[in-house]
Structure formats: C-alpha cells, structure tokens
Amino acid sequence: MTVTLLPSPSEEQAMLLDASVRFMEAAVPLATVRERADGADHDDAGYRRAAAELGWFGLLADEARGGGSASGNGVLDAALVAAERGARLQPGPYPGHSAVVHALDAAAAVGAEHEQVLGELVSGAAWATWAFDSGASCELRAVDRGLELHGEVPVVAEADLCAWLLVTARSADGLTQVLVPADAAGVTVRRLEGLDVSRHWGAVRFDGVAVGAGDLVGTAGPASERLVAEQARLAAVLTAAESVGTMRADLDAAVQYAKDRVAFGRPIGSFQAVKHLLADLSLWAEMATGLVVAAATSLGHGDAGGPEQAHAAKAFVAEKGIEVAHGCFQVFGGIGYTWEHDQHLHLRRLAADAESFGSAAWHRSQLLDAAGVSR
C-alpha cells in the first residue's frame, strides 16, 4: 500500500514507489524501527545501498553525474519517496542528504567540484546531511594557515550515520558553505536524547576545523545565499512530505480503529464526536498533501510560485501534523498511551518534523520574504 500523494502517478513513479514500499517493509519494518528506538542498530550500509539502487539519492542529481528522476521532476519524485518513508518511519537523513546532493550537483555543474563525494552520495556509499541551523551560528574564519570553521549546530538528525556534513557559515566574503568529513579533526558529534525515538539525534560542534579551498561549496556571497535558500526549500518540502506520509498513516490507523472499536453499543466511528473529528483531520491531511505536491511540483519545475509554496507547505504541515497526531490520539484513547501502540511514534515524528529544517514560524517569515512583503 502506498500513501498515494498523487492520485495518478506516472508508470515510472508507480514503479519507483511500489519497489520502494516493498524494500522498506522488508528492510526496516516497524519492528525494526522499535528496536532502533530501544537502542539496537539496523543495517544502515545495506539500507543505503539498496535505497540507492532504487534511485532514491539520484533524483536530484543530473544524469551526467549518475542521477536521474523518474518523471522529469526530481523534486516531486523525491517528495513521493519521502512520503512513503514517513508513513513507515524510516531511518536516515533523507531530506538533509537530498539537500546536500542538490548543493553538490549545483556546484559540480559549475565547476566540477565535489564530483567524487556526489558520486558517493548518489550511490549510497555514504550519508550526508545539511547541518541546518536557523540561528546561523557557524563562522568560517581566516587564520594564518588558511580557513577554520567554528560553531555549533544544536540539533542534527541522524548525524551519527553521516560521513559528510554540509555546513553553512558566515565569512568575511559573506555567506558560504563548506563540506566537512564527519571524522575531521575538530568535529564532535554529541549524541542527544530526542523526542522522536525513530531517529538518532546529535549536536555537532566545529572547533577550528581546518578547511581547504577545495572544501568550499559554490561561491561565497549572493550565490551561496541563493543556494542556501534553495536547500532550505528543498529540505522543507521533503520534510513536509515525510510528515504527510506519517500523518496519513496515523489517520488511516485511527479511521480503522473507529470502525472496529465498539462503545455504548455502537462502533465509535458512528458518533459525530469521532466522525467529525476524523473528517476534520482528513481535511488537514488532504490540504497538506495537496500543498506538498504543489510545492514539490513547482520547485521541480522552477516555477515562480515554488518558493512561496515550499515555505507555506512546511509551515502548514508543521502545525497540522501535530494537530492530526493529537486528534488521532484522542480517537485511540488509552491504548495510544502505551509504548506498544504506534500512535506515540507518529506523534513524536510529527512533532520532530515540525521543528526540523525550520519551524512553522521561521518558514512563515521566509514566506513573507518570498511573497515580496518588504519589512
């Protein structure tokens, strides 16, 4: 079963999704997600390689560099994959990895930089993520020996899985980006406790990490600002797409429960209190789905409305995702309070996604900029 982001996917899209769903259900079913939550590791390398073979990581890269989309719109294809991932609470930093692929592909297109790393990422040899920080606390300083990266990104999803980190930093030349090996001297990934137990969380610290000119991605200044904005929209849309998958999975389970569960001599779904709640939640799910599809489609096409729709999608999904999780919890009642039930995994995911790659409030402020509201 797919979460059907598109009512009528193309044949290529349907193949990609069917194969992806089969893969996920075999490789990391919910039982494995739960084991991971309790501290066990899954076969990450095998997962990466298999996902890469399905094409997950090349959707946003040029065919010349080993990539290729299913439908001609790689952002939309990636969003479809992300939604199926979200429905199954899959591991791995897919939105962050995709943002790095996009950044390296853009850089490689200009100057053939980082082609080798891009190849690793597309082939699933390694995970990368974008150490996104709306507080912009990292700095690239010129020192005698060259350049040094300083700062801390307080929360990065699945940082411990990553071989590469893309860091956005202030510098004397303006905003710039650096590709850092996660095992470079001066990089510390500190494991954190997280609300969302289906993922690992880390704080990433850069204490004077030595940076060579070849580690820079793109050109500092306005070009980097544009690229960072693109990355933010892409990561936002893919995070929102993962959330939409989770929302729909949670909602499907609640609807089924409302059909099966009996109280006061009736299935509880026959009560307006439950039926109308689920109808409202399904409205949010449909709107969220529509908006994510619209944003992914527009971003992939390079439409003028893409940036607005991307920020709106993240802002909308962040708030409605939590609302859907609350509403489903209410339908499940006490059983949703038990660790064994999936409800809390969905709630944790949706609350974490709401904050990841920019909160609703942050994306609303970006939206105003994109809509040309001058302040």
Binding site: L278, A279, A361, V373
Partner: protein, 422 residues
C-alpha cells in the same frame, strides 16, 4: 431538427459572429469599479426591463437555449455549439437577469426539462427563453434547514385544485421573479422523502406574499414567502405527484454544477488582493501582524492546493466527485472564519469603525459578518463532515430516526424526544 440537421461548428461559429456583431454591444474594456464594502448592487426595474429585452433579442436571434429542445423554443444543438457561441460573445454584453435569472437558466429550467410534462414545458420554457419568466427556487422551509426533505409547506388536493399553505425561505431574487418553483408536502403518511411534490407558483398568485430578508451584511437578495391558501391546478405540477425527491436530486445536481469545488484553482503567488490591501494600510512594523498575514497566506495557498488535489482525485475517480466536493466546502466553512478573525486582528481599530478613507478596515469587518456563509448555507459544515466521514472515510453511519417512518410520526416523535432506543 435531428442530429443530421445540425450546422457544423465552424459555419455555426461564423454565423454567430455575424449576428453578435450586428446585435450585441461590446463590453467596456476597463474593469468596472469594485463596489464599496457597504454599497448594495441591485438592478433598478428599468435596468431589469432592459435585460429582459436583451434576452428576448437573443431568443429571437436563435441564440437562447442553444442546447434545449426545439419543441420548447430551444435550438436543439450540442454543448459544443453553445461553447462556440459563448466564445464568440465573450467580449459582448449578454443578458444579466440577476441572481434569480441565474437560478432560472442554471437550475430551475434544466430541472423542469428533465421532469415536467410536455404540456408544462410547451407553456413555460419559451417564456423563459424570451426573458418573460424568471423562476426563483422556493425550496427551503424555515423549519427544515439542512434537513432538506423535512418540508412542512403543504399542498392539499381539493378536486382539481391544489391548496398550498406554509412558508418558504432563502429564495434568491424572488422579489423580482415571475414565478417560484415550490416544494410542498403532498403526503404526510409516508417517509419524508416520499410525500413531496414540486409546483410552479406565479409570484402574483393570490395568497402569496414575498418579503425580502434583510441580511446582516446589509444585502437583501434573499426572500421569504408566505403561502396562505394559494390555489394551483394539476397543470402547475412539475414531475410526478409525490415524486418530488427525484426532481430534487436533479435540482441539487444542477446547483452543485453551478457552484465550484470551492477551493480556488490556479497557483497564485503573492498575497491575495484583500490581504495585500489591508497590509498596505496597516503597515509592516508589527511582527505579530506580519505573522498573521503570513498565516492567512499559508492557508490561502493550502486552499488553492486543495482545489487542485480534489480535481486530480475527482479525475482519477469520477464516482467520488460528489463526496470529495465536501472537502472544498468544509475547508471554506472552517477556514473562512479563521481568516476573517485574523483580518480583524490585523486591521485593529480600522475594522472597529471607519470613515471615508479606510476601505480595508470596512472590508475586514464585512468579511467577519460574511465569514460563516460557507459553513452554513447549502449544507452546514456538520453535513459536510458527515458526508466525508461516511462516504470518503467509510465510517459507520449515524443512527437515523426519519428515514422509514411516516413524516407525520417523525414530527410527533421529535417533539417527544427522550433519546431512548435500545
């Protein structure tokens, strides 16, 4: 005229173009000034008479009722012919018979064509086409609301006459219509859907009083009718006696077709006009005001995206279109008030009171008053939630207490409601 007599589209289009240029007036190219929030736009009797004359000209030229049967004064052509004519006439002034005219051509006459007798149609449809018979819907009972079939306005047979008593409400434009298409109960001893009959009531019938309803937004296009021993005959019956619910289904279909899915369509960028205007007046200093603006813009974009998603879902599965349309209506019902509240907050004192210069504040205030329209009119949000819950999500039905008993007992039992069932 049979299928083979029909003109081919190209020659039809060419002839239409000639007729249009000779008989119609070009529309002014400049946008008509938008009316002020508190101004009422309504045709004077003289303006209405002009529009009726224009409709007659269209009819005489053979361009009214293009798809309607020739037998009743129509042209018996296809939808494609109609579209060709409308394409050609796009830049010209076509008759505007107001809100009741819309109901006449979009809903009432098509419903009649589907259900009324040949004699009835021969008598009335040519007058509709000639602009002489504007028909308003006398559909809702004051006591029925969302429970459309719970009609208590009754028609009692007396020899070959029908005597109608009761009241109808929310009739758009009835105050200037020539007749009303009126739903009445003709049998109280069968379940509610099975004892209904449609009639055509001339607005000048003895015993019929039409009052305009003053609305909270200052308009008054809706009316209420009071029927006090209004006499009709069998000739005025539309469709089968006691078969009114079948006719109603057709009417609802045309009503929905007339409306939209309610979700907006094209991917627009930038703030919606009213939001941009309000922001321009209020200014961008207050970060909390800006966040409210952003919240409304987010929802506007989400609603537009919902419209496109619903269209895609309906295209993929046309049988689900009716139920899916409830999402569009529910979105408006739920989000219009939220949006209006935010507009009020953004506007601040400008929406509390205003003089000449401030239009944006007055718009916000009017928007608040209008904001529940989609949550109530034409099926409340509660009805939409039932439809979505049962027909889209497949949840079990609510208990029903009025589907199988005689309506007379439904009315009595409701008065003695105790809640006890089993």
């Amino acid at each position: 005229m049979t299928g083979t007599d029909r003109p081919d589209l190209d020659s039809y289009r060419a002839a239409a173009r000639v007729w249009i240029e000779a008989n119609l007036v070009r529309r002014p190219t400049a946008e008509a000034p938008r009316r002020k929030p508190w101004e009422i736009e309504e045709q004077t009797p003289e303006e209405l008479a002009e529009q009726r004359a224009l409709q007659r000209r269209l009819h005489e030229g053979g361009y009214a009722g293009i798809t309607w049967p020739v037998e009743y004064g129509g042209q018996g052509l296809t939808r494609e012919h109609e579209r060709a004519f409308l394409d050609e006439a796009a830049g010209y002034v076509l008759p505007d018979l107001g809100i009741a005219g819309g109901a006449t051509f979009g809903v009432c006459a098509p419903t009649m064509l589907a259900h009324a007798s040949r004699e009835f149609l021969r008598r009335h449809i040519p007058r509709v086409l000639a602009g002489e018979l504007i028909v308003s819907q006398f559909f809702s009972d004051p006591d029925a609301g969302s429970d459309l079939a719970a009609v208590r306005t009754q028609a009692v047979r007396d020899g070959d006459r029908w005597i109608l008593n009761g009241s109808k409400i929310w009739s758009s434009g009835a105050y200037y219509a020539d007749a009303g298409m009126c739903l009445a109960r003709t049998n109280w001893d069968v379940p509610k859907h099975r004892g209904l009959t449609w009639f055509l009531v001339p607005t000048d019938a003895r015993g019929l009083t039409i009052e305009r309803i003053r609305q909270i937004n200052g308009d008054s296009e809706f009316c209420q009718e009071f029927l006090d021993d209004v006499e009709l005959t069998d000739d005025d019956v539309i469709g089968e006696v006691n078969g009114g619910w079948t006719v109603t289904q057709t009417m609802l279909l045309y009503e929905r077709g007339a409306g939209s899915a309610g979700g907006g369509s094209a991917a627009h960028t930038g703030l919606r006009a009213d939001l941009a205007e309000l922001l321009a007046e209020v200014g961008t200093d207050d970060p909390q005001v800006l966040d409210l603006v952003a919240r409304n813009h987010v929802d506007d974009l989400a609603r537009a995206a919902l419209g496109r998603r619903l269209l895609a879902l309906m295209t993929a599965d046309p049988t689900s279109a009716g139920s899916l349309a409830s999402y569009g209506k529910l979105a408006s019902g739920v989000l219009d008030p939220v949006r209006a509240n935010r507009m009020m907050e953004i506007a601040g004192h400008r929406a509390l009171a205003w003089g000449e210069p401030s239009e944006a504040g007055a718009h916000a205030a009017l928007g608040l008053l209008n904001s529940r329209f989609m949550a109530i009119a034409g099926g409340t949000s509660q009805m939409q939630r039932n439809t979505i819950g049962e027909r889209v999500l497949g949840l079990p039905r609510e208990p029903s207490f009025d589907r199988s008993k005689p309506f007379r007992e439904v009315v009595r039992d409701a008065r003695n409601w105790s809640g006890a069932v089993g």
